[in-house]
Each structure stands twice: as C-alpha cells, then as structure tokens.
Symmetry: C2
Subunit: 162 residues, 2 copies
C-alpha cells in the first residue's frame, strides 16, 4: 500500500493552520478561549473541538492499524485552540514515527475496529479508502464549516493546504 502518512500529514498541517486562523479571529473579536472550541453547526452535532480530535484520531488509527501497530490512546482533554493545535502536532509526531516500509502489504491486512456499538471488519485497502479517509475528511470538513459559518476568514485553499 502507498504510505498513507504524507497525505494525512499534509491535511493535518492544513488543519493546524485553520486553528491559527481561528485563534486570530478569537483575538480580534476578544472571544474567551473556550468559545470557538464549543461552537456547533446545530445543537445535536458535535462541537468544533470534537470534530478536530476525531479527525486526528482517524489519521492516528489508520496509520497505526495499517502498519500493524497498537493505536496510541490520547485523552480528549482539549479546551482551547492552543490545546487542539497540540493534539494535531502530537498526532503528526506519531505518524512520522512510523517507518514507511511498515505499510508494505497493508492493503491485505485484516482490520477490526469498534465504532460505538458497531464492530467492523475490513481489508486494509477498504478500511483506508472506504472508512478512515472518508471519516477523516468528514470531520476536518465539518471543523472547517463550523469556522466558515461563524465568520472566520478561511477559504477552500486553506482546507486544501495550498
């Protein structure tokens, strides 16, 4: 399998820059540090901070499982944008610790995951392209949309990372 680390790393860097822009917005509008992390598109969707941590966790889970490694557990304790940037950096540090050759043959690995009450089994290829990547971009896009819908000055090129 193509090493999945570079694409996740690229988009995590883009996510980190979205956090920078959110922080600049919070400063300009004199918002308390917890305001943007708690924004939601609608009451029964997860808040911004959870969209960010879940995106990070799909990148971490995908790279660990496809490389045959234990998935490291990061506690969900972030309350500020600075905390979230740290979570992204910690995720990127884990990804960069995985040797590229760990993904050789990963497309054929059997991957089991628990997603809430559901237990899912995939081939490595199906897990990556049909589950981890769609989920990663779902949560990254929702984080972006929360900022965008609340007037933070972000655009599509920020999402794409240049």
């Amino acid at each position: 399998m193509q090493n999945p680390v570079p694409v996740f790393t690229h988009f995590l860097t883009a996510l980190s820059r979205l956090l920078d822009k959110a922080e600049a917005h919070a400063e300009a509008k004199r918002l308390k540090p917890e305001v943007i992390p708690n924004l939601r598109l609608i009451a029964d969707m997860l808040p911004f901070w959870r969209q960010v941590t879940i995106a990070c966790d799909h990148a971490k889970g995908a790279c660990a499982r496809l490389a045959g490694l234990e998935v490291p557990s990061f506690a969900d304790t972030e309350t500020t944008l600075a905390d979230l940037r740290e979570r992204v950096a910690k995720t990127q540090a884990f990804l960069s610790s995985i040797p590229a050759d760990a993904f050789t043959g990963a497309e054929a690995r059997t991957i089991h995951i628990k997603a809430g009450p559901r237990e899912l089994t995939f081939t490595g290829d199906h897990y990556q392209n049909g589950y981890a990547v769609p989920n990663f971009f779902f949560h990254m896009t929702t984080a972006y949309n929360i900022l965008r819908a609340n007037g933070v000055d972000v655009g599509k090129v920020d999402f794409l990372g240049g």
Copy 2:
C-alpha cells in the same frame, strides 16, 4: 492503482440517499422544490445544489483522468432534488462504463487540471489521494452539513452509506 470506481460509487449512492431524505423532508414541510437546493451554510458559500454537482464532478474527473479518458462535460442545470439525483445517477453510469483495467499504472500518470485561475500538475497517485478524494469528501460533507444544520433527519451512518 486500485480501481477508484467502487469507493466513489458507494459514496455517490450514499449521496443519492441523502437526496431522498431531503426530498422526504421537503414534502413533510411543504417546501417548494427549489428551497433545499438553494440552502447555504453562510451567504458566501456555495448552495447545496452546487456542493452536490461539484462532488459529482470530482468523482467523474478523477475516474476519467486516471483512466486516460476525456472528462465528459455535464451542464450545471439542476434546480430540484430530483434533478440532483439524476446528476448522481449519470455520474455513476459514467463511472461504471470504465473498464477496471484502465486504471493499471494510473498512479504514475501525469495529470494536469485547471481549478479556477490555477493550473495544477500531479502524479496520478497525488491527484487521487491529495486532491480529488479530499475535494469529493469536502463537497459531500458540506452538502450533508447543509441538510443537517437545516433539520433534515440525516446522521453519520447515512453519510457513510451503512
């Protein structure tokens, strides 16, 4: 390269089911057919109908270019949810017309695209994983978020397509 058609086809089917749910909502609330297609998350983002057609176009463009085919041009004339479902179906029909072996070696193909004022050149692999797939999920997620933020009864499992 792994044939990209099955994953795009799966998520286009999920998108079509989101359109079914949007239509059921429009009927229940007695909305005119053009109301949901014109919803936006915020005034300076594209409306729902464009999010759907752009998602379709990334799937169409990716599969055509990676297979070395001319990208078929579909006019953006949709005004109703039924029109959008037709656009998804037309996109899926094109994807299913491409023989699986057309993608052999596609990771190394050179892909040129114009994105607004920008001209971009990629390898096939980078185009698919770093551009077409992220864009496809960006627009599909934004379409989903527009429905979700407007009270349509859709959930994450609908996005994932089961």
